[in-house]
Symmetry: C2
Subunit: 204 residues, 2 copies
């Protein structure tokens, strides 16, 4: 199943918005604005202007501004969880699976969904508590993929530290790449993945 097929399947199930539709386009622009200026500094007028409509017209698609933020986060997690699951299923060894997870997350953070991933990290506090709980449920599914692999590696002896500590260190290290890594520099995404794996003292 290709990445595109996964996206189309999620669109068909109404789990993520079609990027070419009105709603999808707005969410993409919203992610970009939220990352560049922050959620609070981005006004509904900014959002409307980005897709070429009046600010009031936004509220036919979303009831509140916060609902837009939540949608950005929810759809991003849904898509990336599915993509990550697929990337992992292609691998047979634990080492291969972990490398696939790292490679996939680096791609989420520095690729197409980079804006939305940054929003997920930096704008968490701007979500109401109710929305946070909702998004957290989806996030738990995503995190469980990591913990399963890391736990197996721990019990096999190829990992010394605690799986949940390792995952958290990786979360920080990988998401921070958004502040400095540029794909067009001298380091490819595969090269970056190599450095992360090497840093963990892992060998194939």
């Amino acid at each position: 199943m290709t990445q595109d097929a996964i996206l189309r399947s999620l669109i068909a199930d109404n789990l993520v918005s079609d990027p070419s539709g009105a709603r999808g386009r707005l969410l993409r622009e919203a992610a970009r604005l939220f990352r560049d200026k922050g959620y609070e500094r981005t006004t509904v007028r900014d959002l409307a202007a980005a897709v070429g409509i009046q600010s009031g017209s936004l509220f036919h698609h979303f009831r509140t501004k916060e609902e837009i933020l939540k949608a950005v986060m929810v759809e991003t997690i849904r898509l990336n969880t599915a993509l990550m699951q697929a990337a992992m299923d292609k691998e047979s060894t634990c080492y291969g699976k972990l490398r696939a997870l790292i490679r996939a997350e680096l791609e989420f953070i520095n690729g197409q969904t980079g804006e939305a991933m940054a929003v997920l990290v930096y704008e968490w506090r701007s979500l109401s508590e109710a929305s946070q709980l909702e998004v957290l449920e989806l996030r738990d599914i995503y995190e469980q993929l990591w913990l399963d692999v890391l736990s197996t590696m721990k019990s096999e002896g190829s990992l010394k530290a605690e799986p949940f500590v390792v995952r958290r260190m990786l979360t920080g290290a990988l998401s921070w790449t958004v502040t400095w890594y540029r794909p067009d520099g001298g380091l490819s995404l595969d090269g970056l993945t190599d450095q992360v794996v090497a840093m963990m003292g892992l060998t194939k």
Copy 2:
């Protein structure tokens, strides 16, 4: 030189505010509010109420709200750079120095200056470009301490990866601990430091 002596020395040179003074108290409350609610969501009325004055009275101490944010960042970097330098100078080996740096930064992030350190990471975009440049200069001094040690280790062969990549991975991993690490849990700061060092494949 004790940590307290370093603080007093900086206060005497007017590089950081006395925490017991009016200005210092405000900056501490500001750091807490900015971390908890974000800079934009924190109003000047919130800030004033936190130290028991009227909102207008704030502007006798700071010309703008942004100046408060900048002061939080600047004073934090000044203090922590001095503390870190002192912690490093006590060590003679590169391994010892790096461990001291990691240990110190974990302490900054999860100890007394934790609120301010989180602000430094999460509220960077809320600074005007002019202020960003100003803070960046101080930050460079801080970062150079890390790069010097890591570069020496690289040339000695005890570090395989690129120093600047390693530093950036560490920045992300360590600062992310603020979202999950609790000192009163089962893991001490020294234990956490051990896990980081072990994760890097380093041995004494």
